[in-house]
Subunit: 100 residues, 2 copies
DNA sequence: GTGTTATTTTAGTGACTGCTATAATATAAT
DNA sequence: ATTATATTATAGCAGTCACTAAAATAACAC
């Protein structure tokens, strides 16, 4: 799974946002999610595999934090389309779309 | 399917890049892909549903072009992590990772 | 030790993905 | 009209996804 897939899931994006503020253990993350602890752990694993988070061990706890340097690729890919935002170009589609 | 999922697929990102240069009919796109014309058409449909492309009809042809204003959301979401790139922070993970 | 807490892993499940092949639709060429 | 071209829609399929429940692993508390 690449970084684009890693951030495609809303729960994983939420995790990154929370872990960007400060580190959390898994239990500290749980109140923010509606899924089981197993599911959160699986999401963290995917983020870890994509190097979007790191963790340190402290007793029984694993503290995760965001290390989102890998998002640079996504940022730069979207950046090339920047000139489309806020310009008249972004409304062009409406006139052209003949989807019938 | 939301915009994050729409760009998660490499073929769809490639389509956006090609359609950003200038408009293409489906046949003009085909040489750039290894999949069937049906698959390309399905990808274009997903991009269309996410308003990432528009199309105009000309005879039997449908000409597609990129209208990637919807990428603004992704751009802005990644942008909040910008300070991590190029800083020492992005290497912090390596020291902290105790994945054993 | 025994039991409790924190986390990860595994097996199973339903839904979804990306693909193909084929059929359907629409326009153009002869 | 018939045939060819361009595109979309449909059905089916193997693989993946996000999830749960339960088992496994690990460290703490008593």
């Amino acid at each position: 799974m690449d970084v684009y897939h890693a951030i495609a899931d809303a729960n994983r994006r939420r995790l990154l946002e929370l872990l960007h503020q400060h580190e959390h253990s898994v239990q500290q993350l749980m109140p923010h999610f509606d899924v089981t602890v197993g599911a959160v752990s699986q999401h963290l694993k995917i983020l870890l595999e994509n190097k979007l988070v790191s963790r340190r061990k402290r007793g029984r706890f694993r503290f995760y934090r965001a290390t989102p340097a890998a998002l640079k690729e996504v940022y730069e890919w979207t950046e090339q389309y920047r000139r489309f935002w806020g310009s008249r170009l972004d409304r062009l589609g409406e006139y052209l779309d003949d989807s019938e």
